[in-house]
Amino acid sequence: MKKILIIYLCLFTQVSCEIEDLNKKEKVNTNKIINLLINEIIDKQLVYFAFPAPPPNLELSLDSLYKEIEKDRAIPKDTVQIINKMIIEQGKLLIAVDSSFFTLNEKHLKQSECNKKDDFNNTFKIKNIKKIDFNKIQKSNFYKIIPSTTGKILSNKNQRLNYHMHLGFSEIAYNKENSKAIIIVGVALTKLNGFTSIYYLEKKNGLWKIECKKELNIS
């Protein structure tokens, strides 16, 4: 009787440990993906802010305007220095991030040409992680992350102006081996200026990389 109990307890502990281990791995993957995407999105936005399009000189012909753009592109620029200067002058970007993941529906997984690639044609399963662990989000000199619980902060007229950007992440779907992932990200700069993108990621040598990205809409 004693032996049976001991065997049972050992088996129970082993299964629990395996589940715990799996959950831990999923959490680690989720944190890595969220960090990667926050950096990706904000980096691009910083470049957009630091290098605003000059309004066109309407006296010029279209061809001349295009030439001006190409001429400007040819001039080498110290992006990091310019962004640093901008941050010093105007302060860190304040980024509101929804603490809960929004629902990722099956239809979203088949939404763009990215999933037509063989690599992303497998069965993906949505993992049951509901919240972002903000303790695991990396700190940055360029931006500050502020957890948001409202889910629709930009629609709130009083709170809207406290943030430069608002990000929301969907639940993440992984393949069986947890080596590929699909996620949708919603980005809003104002209530009518934002976009939603779907990202297809792959883990290579322990690092997650964006394999394919497609914007789904703009507002």
């Binding site: 066109p56 102006l161 507002s219």
Partner: protein, 586 residues
């Protein structure tokens, strides 16, 4: 030690089970009298034959005890028990009668402000009163649903008729020998440009396909339209009220007498109970009561819809299968059950009737509606605001451009833009290759001037997509330098890409701040100077990071500062507080 613990646990569980059983037994004991009156043996016993169990209170005798013989004492004991039951039943009946006639009836009279001759009439009046309120409340979403279906159906019908008319014109052109220079060559029908239709055979195939779609849509829209009309007057449908009251009465009668009066007191306090049994009040006991009578509402949305469908006017459209079936049935009777003859005669008749009806519809389809490619699924206040915008020049220069040509613009509601709920609206150009652009409304804000600005903002996005697409194809020879410059700078693809969003927003800052402000000012009756309305245009654009260079109305390079932006937003808020615009769309 482990074994010992298990034994203790088993004993503990066993002791709970035994205690529970004892508790159950005790409970049964307290129900003794309830069980007693259902005991068939007692009532069949000849000793009770002398008792009239329906006798009046005054006739109830007192307990008696006799000790003459064993049989006598048993008889007294049983008689006493029967007396007890009679007394209890009578007392209960008296109490019920008092509750119904002296308490509940006056309470209903007070609630409804009317007098009733008896409890039954008062009860029915209350049931009717509640069900009328249910109809008033519950028919609204069904009415909205059919309003939308009907609206979409009529929009589709208009498009079908426009296309059928185009095919009719093309047929006349081909028959007249004009094969290569059709008047409306660029317009597509089922993705085929009219200029590519060169034979009557090709045209007939397209016609048949379109005609079938037109028939099924028209038949369905005819039904939805009449269901909608019935829903408009459903609050006065006495037949529906009677049906609901009958069902409610049946529900009432399913309860025992205790629960019947409980149900009545529940109904008398219905509104309050509903209020306090849900958040933010939430009184658990009331919730329990609500749950007990959870099926009380009989005129619910399902029943209302069923009633409207079954009792609508209008019969069937001549383009429907049902109309044909009815015709066959009618002619079968006429031809003494000769079904074959009836069928062929019906076929001839329906062809003639449909031809006449379609001819009439096509005659009323004006040339300006050719190729109408705007599908508007907005309803209520949003639709009202959309209609008000239609008169403005800015709207004519954006949305109205979709009314002709090869692009389809759809306005619709959405709860999300591909999963994300950020922002108030979005423009989806995912299917631009097929000429389709979708504007999705996620939030209509305060359903006032702010929503008008949102519609204009998204309409400008849609128009830019269309312009750049046409420009790429060489259809639009105009160089809108501003738009194309930003597209080149951001390497925009004219898809749902961020670069396109950036380019379009930048172009909007340069070109549309003043037009949007002017449009909103016009909607507001020009109450304030133009400056007050610039916030409506900037509200959706400015991202607070001070990078926003733009060209002002005089073509001068300016930077939108945070201070200036807040200033515009404050002025916008002032306008929103004072505007009467919202009241025009009630």
């Amino acid at each position: 030690m482990v074994i010992k613990n298990i034994i203790y646990s088993v004993l503990l569980i066993a002791s709970f089970t035994v205690t529970g059983q004892i508790e159950g037994l005790k409970k049964k004991d307290t129900d003794y009298f309830i069980k007693f009156d259902k005991d068939e043996f007692i009532f069949k016993d000849p000793l009770f034959e002398n008792f009239n169990t329906n006798s009046n209170e005054s006739e109830i005798k007192n307990f008696e005890f006799g000790w003459n013989s064993y049989n006598n004492s048993i008889t007294y004991a049983l008689n006493n028990a029967a007396l007890l039951k009679i007394a209890r039943d009578q007392s209960q009946r008296k109490w019920f009668a008092k509750q119904k006639n002296e308490i509940i009836k006056p309470a209903i009279e007070k609630k409804l402000g009317k007098s009733f001759s008896n409890y039954e009439h008062a009860k029915n009046a209350l049931l009717s009163n509640i069900e009328i309120k249910n109809i008033v409340i519950n028919h609204v979403p069904i009415e909205t649903k059919y309003q939308n279906i009907r609206h979409t159906g009529f929009s589709k019908q208009k498009t079908h008729l426009g296309k059928l008319k185009l095919l009719k014109i093309r047929k006349e052109e081909i028959l007249a020998g004009n094969i290569n220079n059709p008047e409306f060559g660029a317009i597509k029908i089922n993705n085929i440009p009219i200029k590519n239709i060169k034979t009557i055979k090709e045209l007939n195939q397209l016609w048949q396909h379109l005609y079938n779609t037109f028939c099924s849509n028209t038949a369905a829209t005819h039904v939805s339209n009449h269901v909608y009309k019935m829903l408009l007057k459903i609050e006065n449908e006495s037949k529906l009220i009677d049906l609901a009251v009958t069902k409610k009465n049946r529900y009432y009668r399913n309860f025992n007498e205790w629960d019947q009066i409980n149900y009545m007191q529940f109904l008398i306090n219905y509104e309050e109970i509903k209020k306090y049994s849900s958040l933010p009040y939430y009184i658990p006991k009331l919730l329990e009561l609500s749950n007990k009578f959870k099926d009380t509402d009989k005129a619910n949305d399902i029943e209302i819809e069923k009633y409207a469908l079954n009792n609508r006017d209008g019969g069937h459209s001549v383009f429907s299968d049902e109309y044909f079936d009815e015709l066959v049935e009618e002619l079968t009777r006429k031809y003494n059950n000769d079904a074959r003859e009836a069928y062929y005669d019906a076929l001839d008749q329906i062809r003639f009737l449909r031809e006449q009806a379609l001819k009439k519809l096509l005659d009323n389809t004006s040339a300006s509606e050719f190729g109408e490619e705007i599908t508007n699924n907005l309803t209520g206040k949003e639709l009202c605001i959309y209609k008000k915008l239609k008169e403005l020049n800015l709207f004519k220069n954006t949305v109205q451009k979709f009314s002709k040509g090869n692009y389809n613009l759809t306005f619709d509601y959405g709860t999300e833009c591909n999963g994300s709920t950020y922002g108030d609206a979005c423009t989806d150009a995912d299917d631009l290759a097929n000429g389709n652009i979708l504007i999705k409304i996620i939030s209509s804000g305060q359903q006032s001037l702010d929503f008008a600005a949102t519609l204009l903002h998204e309409a400008i996005h849609a128009e830019m997509y269309k312009y750049v697409d046409e420009h790429k194809k060489g259809i639009d020879p105009n160089d809108r330098k501003n738009v194309l410059h930003y597209y080149r700078y951001y390497k925009a693809k004219n898809e749902n890409d961020v670069a396109t969003s950036d380019a379009q927003h930048q172009a909007m800052q340069d070109m549309y701040i003043i037009p949007i402000a002017e449009a909103i000012r016009a909607l507001d009756g020009g109450k304030f100077p133009l400056e007050h309305y610039k916030g409506f245009a900037w509200d959706g654009l400015y991202s607070q990071y001070e990078y926003d260079a733009y060209l002002d109305e005089n073509g001068q390079l300016k930077t939108m500062t945070k201070t200036q932006f807040y200033n515009y937003i404050n002025m916008m808020n002032d306008v929103m507080k004072s505007t009467n615009f919202k009241n025009n769309c009630n």
